[in-house]
Amino acid sequence: MEAVTATRQAPVLRRDTNNRVIAGVCSGLARHIGVDPLIVRVAFVAAASAGGIGVAIYLLAWVFVPAGDAPARPVRLRTGRGTVEIALGVALLALSVLLTFRALGLLFSDVIVWPLVLVAAGAALLWRQTFGGGWGGSAARPDAPAAPAHPLSPRPAEVAPRTPADRAALISRAGLGVALVIAAGFVFLSASGALSAARDVVLSVLVVAVVLGVIFAPVVMRLVRSLTEERAERIRSQERAEMAAHLHDSVLQTLALVQQRADDPRAVTALARRQERELRSWLTRRVDAGPLRLGRALEVAASEVERDHGVVVDVVAVGDADLDARGEALVAAAREAMVNAAKFGAGSPVDVYAETSEDELQVYVRDRGPGFDASALPADRRGVRESIVGRMGRHGGRAAIHSGPGAGTEVELTMPRSVS
């Protein structure tokens, strides 16, 4: 999570409650833009005396800018801050445009200025909430996951918050936006004198709503609850059916084969082993996890080698990576190494270890067979040169073979990761 430490150019805009006169808005703003607080304060006072704009801006900032020290914000709040800042910015922009118009004597009276400012702020909050990074917010989001985004998913980060806390923050911001827009409506109605008429209508609608609510609430509640239960039950029975189908296709099938081949212990062992591997991966649900990644590809290769050569191949993978052409070459070379270990390892189990680091992929394939003198590669193992060493070399990787009489054999494969 290095992204957490990524710094912004300017300190985050926060109210500086340590150096405050009223609420720390001026000193916070001063620190944000990097000037002396006194300048900002003078500007605010000047703006306040010029028709009260300064007061309005100050109050808005008091509401929207959180207090506290600038650094080390929790990651999940970043999007929230961006949203609120943008809403605030839009409100101020609208305010300045309208005030300019008014100063020029054009179109607008006070009846319309304040409602429009509120609507602008509320709308900004809601639009940004709904359409995520539409305004360049998420592009600047420093903690966006480095994982490759699916090309079909349009907005990676903000649309689907992952933690309950994220979701709560999102909802509360949306609520704030709605409240602002409603408040704008009220301000407009009351300023234009239409509020009292509207109040009568609203009141009667409200009374009807409450009456209906009291009457139908229990029915609706029961309906919702029974629907939820029914849905849960359906999911359960679907899962049962899926499991039954899977057991039928795999485990029962294998048991039938085991009975047929009961006189061939080697075949029975291989069948049991293959079924075990298959059932394990089904239980941990690695099979349907999208494209083949390194760990899974090695598992598949190991299970094929096990099936063909009747030797146990155990795979341990630390970290994982998507497979590009180099990764595929690495898996192919590792598979070849497994075949060799199975053939020449005198039936000893084969250990495969894969490690993914930032700049390279490494795979070790080891058997505990008789080993050989590495300096004098036996004639029957010449294939190793082409299929392992040569293949790795062509893709920019390396292969090293460590062996000694009686010490088993280990093939070490290293492939640099492509710069993406």
Partner: protein, 222 residues
């Protein structure tokens, strides 16, 4: 062949009768099998009455499984050493039982002599890591140190492996024995054991996110 007088006394805990019998015959003559138990309650009672040195513990049993046995034995005071033995090699199973207090984890496909060797090592106070477990630990401790722990008294050192410990674990994951690792790294087998024991301690005490997550997932399932 009778086990020597210094052979560890072993209790086998597993809810499958067939498997208990299998382990018994595999270990016959290699260790002193003091008894067996099929349920969590039986296991706790047997531990209390026969006081074995090492308990071979199945992870998956009704009523809480191996983790529950370790927890209740520890509550009684002076618990024996536990070696977990399971068909499962899912991270949450392995990590949960290690964090509960087991000194090692091996899968049921292990051969008789290897199992006897693992029992002896656990009895001597060493830790026993299967290649799979070593891989999980490397995965869990991958990357930089986690965010500072919430508790002030937490030892930050617990949340990271030293380069040497990492090297030892990588060799374990590659399938090397302690003696072979010692030879390759140019250190004594005792030092290798010390590194593995240190890793075990970190595994049990660290509050790295991955470890607690795995441990918690297991509890939710049961």
């Amino acid at each position: 062949m009778r086990p020597g007088p210094s052979a560890p006394r072993v209790l086998i805990v597993d809810d499958h009768q067939l498997f208990r019998a299998g382990v018994r015959s595999e270990l016959e003559g290699l260790v002193d099998i003091a008894g067996d138990a099929a349920t969590v309650d039986d296991a706790v009672r047997e531990i209390e009455s026969i006081r074995p040195d090492v308990v071979l513990l199945d992870v998956h049993m009704p009523e809480g499984g191996g983790v529950e046995v370790i927890r209740r034995a520890a509550a009684e005071g002076d618990p024996p050493r536990f070696l977990a033995l399971s068909v499962s090699d899912a991270a949450e199973d392995v990590i949960a039982v290690i964090r509960a207090g087991a000194r090692g984890y091996v899968t049921k496909s292990i051969s008789g002599p290897e199992l006897a060797d693992a029992v002896r090592r656990v009895n001597e106070g060493d830790a026993v890591f299967s290649p799979k477990l070593a891989g999980f630990v490397l995965d869990a401790f991958a990357g930089g140190p986690p965010a500072p722990a919430a508790t002030a008294d937490h030892d930050a050192e617990l949340d990271q492996l030293t380069p040497r410990e990492r090297e030892v674990l990588r060799h374990l994951a590659r399938g090397y024995m302690y003696k072979e690792i010692a030879l390759r790294l140019g250190i004594s087998a005792k030092t290798v054991e010390a590194h593995v024991s240190a890793v075990l301690r970190k595994l049990q005490l660290s509050n790295r996110h991955e470890l607690s997550r795995w441990a918690v997932e297991r509890r939710l399932v049961e």
